[in-house]
Amino acid sequence: MIVTGKGGVGKTTVAVALGLRAASEGKRTIVCEVSSQENASRMFEHTAVGFHEVEMEENLWSISIDPDESMREYVLLQLKVRAMRDMLFRSRIFNYLAAATPGLKELVTIGKIWELAQLDRKVKKGRKYDLVIVDAPATGHGVGFLQTPRTFASIARVGPIHSQAQQLDRFITDQEHTGTAIVALPEEMPVNESMTLERDLREEVGVAVDRLYLNGLYPERFKKAEAEKLAALAESENGAAKAAARAALSEYGRAKTQRAQLSRLKKGVEAPVKTLPFLFEPELDVEAARKLAGKLG
């Protein structure tokens, strides 16, 4: 399950919430981060996990996929002769080529995700997972990221990378086993981007879009008549009553415009839209994600 969307919409929170839910259902689940920011492990107040599969809770693991480490692991799996591997890692020219080849970093990152999803793991004593959740790069980079295998297969027309890239492309576009979830906010721009993103994912990448999560939806706390009453109060009062009335009016206005965005999103996409409530909580920690986990549908 690949969780994608614009920056700042709460992809990590949703990815962790999906992970928590799957784990509570008894599925062995791993949440992968690809941005080296370790936002997921930070939510668990865990120290940085790095390129290791670290258990966060029962049935829930986390890993931060670093492209250099993935490259290293890939080469280790490809080359059996130890002396040659050592030579290669020390070789400046090899490292330079690896860094200079467009898309190679993304390719080995997707390669690692594929490896994690295999029941017959390539790494020694690899754990078997029922579900691999990917906290994908922000939109824009996201579509390009998922397209890397295909682009690569067309550039490198021969050699083992060609067939491996093809295999990864089949992995991404396997509608039965691989899916994406788009996270959006109930605002103009994120809603527009999500509609474009869904189309690009379906048509350009060819990956299944299972659902959209509209995150941070304000509750409808006040009715129209009440808002009018509060508007009058905000005008006539001073002090705390004025501030409270204004906060209520702000909530009312937000909730209303957000619902307009929600219906616009529902009309503009094919996949079902699930809403996730705005949490009036100072910081979104693992407990916040747990609250959302129950509402993922």
Partner: protein, 383 residues
Amino acid sequence: MASVGEVLEGKSICICAGSGGVGKTTTSAAIALGMAQQGLRVCVLTIDPAKRLADSLGLAELGNEARQVDPALFEEQGVEMKGELWAMMLDAKATFDELIARQAPDEESRDRVLNNRIYQQISSALAGSQEYMAMEKLFELHTEGDFDLLVLDTPPTRNALDFLDAPRRLTQFIEGKSLRVFMKPTGLAAKVTGRGVSVALGVFKKLVGFDLLADLAEFFNAFSSMVDGFQARAKRVNKLLGDPETCFLVVCGPQGEPIDEAVYFHRKLVEAKLPFGGVVVNKVHYAADELSGEVDDLPTALAEKLDDSALAKRVADNFADYQALAERDSRNIDHLANELRTSCVIRVPYLDEDVHDLAGLSQIDRYLFATAEERVEMAAGRA
């Protein structure tokens, strides 16, 4: 605490930097509008304009060329405009192509680069190329000197480092000196340099397939004639970024994560000796004590005034929720001001509506171009 107007006094370039989703595009547009209103000729360079905002400015077909916002529009909306507001959308690929055309010694080498697959990948997809081209366009417009102020909305890279590093990484990649030596068709250099290199090349060839390597070789050959021009230009771009007439504004939101990124970004700016101007925090909830002084027994007071105790309770609960966010915001912003050792923190409140037109931008400008005291007064609804 200064206003944006004071921070940008005498500056000719303003670069708005920050992570995605913090309202950078809107802030850039609002700054450009506000500065133009004061009588300057301003151009805002944006990466990904909100369509509705662009439409509302009458700039539906924003392209890689600067276009002026119709002065009649300001009059219609009752916005006093002393200067000129221009806008353009950065097209990284088109800018890169133009740059190649300018640097290429002849048409043949130009076409060889433009048609090369590796180039096509780099110019449109390689991380960092968009950032680099933003700098390029900025440099070009600055050199042409048609504007008093250029406002740049940077790409929403999650990692601030990418953006500062982009010019260096890209020129390094393009230089590729060590690589070009080894990729000579004869492979002679490889033999001379020793077995290690030829084995490394051989293994790489095996791993990625020969085609890719041939494309890379072709790319570097085609590019070789332009390397010096690129390097010289990159140096001038870097110099411009460090110029005292340039000002970096960090844009962020009040939550923990964007605040952390703003701190990180500021550190990178200082390390790179780039001129930091201040920080704009968007979507801030102002705290009750700032807004109203003492908070007494609110539910009771509200119940009396509203004559509806159920509604009063909901209003009070909602207010408490907002205050929890306000406390977080002020805690995070204090932390930010401490870390940045700056008093120039401009707080734009969480407005009741999203901004996608001129009126919305003016609304933001009321805060950006006010003093700190005026901002509190406005947020409290007293001004």
